[in-house]
Symmetry: C2
């Protein structure tokens, strides 16, 4: 269990913003993170930054993270760009936690940014595929949706699950996202909308796929001393677990589980000294609907093949026993790749402080789950309300 | 001063290797790093990895670092890809140091890799420019050599310095690299060769520019306990300093200094409780000859405008008072972007253990200096021979 706290967190709106840049979007997230801190914080107190981005579109491929911290006025601090595809800022948070825990920094900015919707050049399709394995998947013609479609096909074949179960993920997450003013696709959808939408990669329809999104997220990570100075009610980073896995699906024994999620979760639970039954809510990586089902099982929220039952019974609805993706998830809130992991932290921070748009009653402990590619890298965090030992 | 040690370090040959991939090159570096450890190390002991790459050529843009650690058999460990342009693996080392110092890991792999020489598609020129600022430099037509040429022009104008002084960097570093079997351009060159070579970006000639190179480097970073188990003579990471700066030249007050180097060096010296006069040798970032002159001054080895004098007097030759780039530097050893910073650590590790190809007599303390782009991010490390307090 660490002695590290989150004292502020904020995100830009997620959506399509042709007039914004990665710098301006991050500035919005950063300003909101500063505003969320209980007491006044002088930006001179920020020692270091870890920022995640895939760099879609290829604007500033090298050094975009220092370009961002210089832009928001954090001149001269060490800034590291982290990239683990869609798990970039989940890992950025982990690195920020390590930096504080090391004593080399007392207050660290973690976050991420991505501008995807204007990737209109020949590079576009190339960029959207780069989170998959290159030689034997992408260059052989497999799209990234196609990777998850193979996992969905295998799952529907292996278990008592249907396309409607995939659609239930979309229905729930859109219903949540409809309350989130920062959501990219902040509208509701019906089971029929989702199941009958056009096929993107069989069996996945349009509503089973997250959008490509512009956005940024920022999180302020502090030592216990700094947290005591800045915050009445910080969020304790009780556990940080990460794991790698084979980047290509073809290298794995099973298509119906992501081993790196299982390992990362075990590590995070062990560090936090909890089990999956001790979790009040979670933000999980639902880049495609099947990913949310796999997450329920790999995070230990149910047994293999039981994820559809959780959805059918409403267990993961906001009023269920284990609300999941109250933010709207990647599906409705959106998936600006580098900003997604830190964006999950923003939702968990707000839930644990009672400020969420879809508030979970009595939320004391939450989990965030951020997947790179189809499971080549996963970061899981356990977050608790208040100073260590304060949460119930 | 940290309690963190380097217990092993190795690099692949640097050069043009059409038959190798980033994975196979890293495997060579990793195997050599393992072999350099004094006592037997079980790879199961490695807890985590931080690997730097710019991703030139765009093969595996997302998740290439986990693809590398999975390839060398480090299944499931958390692996973070770090990118700060040419300073990628200098920052990867810093992050590894923080991870060990945090107690979240006891033995961490840091390193980097890059395959540049086969970037033969339309992307090539695009990739080689991405370490510069995008909107106001690259897209306005400034090449990356052009960025450093502007710094060289300004320096020659401001101080008593000539094109021959730039050439002296090439002559010295090629003379060193000629002894290094891992060097890309392991041949000597004369002052006339360098000064009379064709112009790349005035006043920089071909010999004032480092090559584009394939290669990989690996470093094993350990806690004091693990270092005691594994090593007779580890290398102590006495100081780790990093700093960001404006990514674009046009955003800076001066073209004849890199402020991020000055700040990073101050931080590293402060952590190590030393000054620049306490350094026995250094590996500095000589991507272009002018960069080595600026490094002498920004690292505090001499006053402003005095760097040419150090070269003319042979102070930075292997038999001088402060040998610099005994490996051959980026100029002769080569510059596989993501592998460069960790490659400097390999040279320093070998120097401090008496195993260098061009050995500095009595080397007890060295500095490595790794620059991203033209100074948007810089990492400086102070390394000392043996366990803390053992070095003279």
């Amino acid at each position: 269990m660490s002695d590290v706290y989150i004292v502020g967190a904020g995100q830009s709106p997620f959506g399509s913003f042709p007039g914004e840049s990665y710098r301006s979007l991050f500035e919005t997230a950063y300003d909101r993170a500063l505003e969320s801190v209980d007491r006044d914080l002088n930006s001179d107190q920020i020692d270091e930054a870890y920022l995640g981005t895939l760099g879609v579109g290829g604007r500033q491929i090298g050094l975009s993270a220092p370009a961002v911290t210089e832009h928001v006025g954090l001149h001269g601090i060490p800034t590291t760009r982290v990239e683990n595809a869609c798990a970039a800022s989940g890992y950025a948070l982990r690195n920020a936690v390590a930096a504080v825990e090391s004593g080399m920094a007392d207050l660290v900015l973690a976050g991420g940014y991505e501008v995807m919707t204007d990737a209109s050049s020949d590079h576009t399709k190339w960029w959207l595929g780069v989170s998959g394995e290159t030689e034997w998947e992408r260059l052989s013609g497999t799209t990234f949706a196609g990777v998850y479609a193979q996992m969905a096909s295998a799952y529907l074949d292996a278990y008592d699950a249907t396309v409607d179960d995939l659609s239930r993920v979309a229905v729930k997450n859109h219903a949540n996202g409809a309350h989130n003013p920062n959501a990219h696709l902040g509208f509701e959808c019906s089971l029929e909308d989702a199941s009958n939408a056009q096929t993107v990669a069989d069996p996945l329809t349009l509503y089973h796929c997250c959008p490509t999104t512009d956005g940024a997220s920022a999180v302020l990570v502090a030592s216990e001393d700094v947290a005591s100075d800045l915050s009445e009610t910080p969020v304790h980073v009780a556990g940080s677990g990460a794991a790698s896995g084979a980047v290509g699906l073809f290298q794995r024994d099973s298509l119906t589980s992501i081993p790196a999620t299982r390992t990362a979760a075990e590590r995070a639970y062990e560090m936090a000294d909890i089990g999956p039954n001790d979790v009040d809510f979670a933000e999980v990586h639902d880049c495609f609907a099947i990913a949310e089902l796999l997450a329920y099982e790999d995070l230990g929220f149910c047994e293999r093949g039981e994820a559809p039952e959780l959805l059918r019974e409403g267990v993961t609805n906001p009023d269920g026993d284990l609300p999941i993706n109250t933010s709207g998830g990647l599906k409705s809130k959106g998936h600006p790749i580098g900003a997604t992991g830190a964006g999950q932290i923003v939702e968990a921070f707000e839930q644990l402080r009672g400020d969420a748009h879809v508030q979970v009653e009595g939320a004391e402990r939450g989990v965030t789950h951020n997947v790179g590619g189809s499971g080549g890298g996963v970061a899981v965090h356990v977050l608790e309300r208040g100073f260590r030992g304060e949460s119930a």
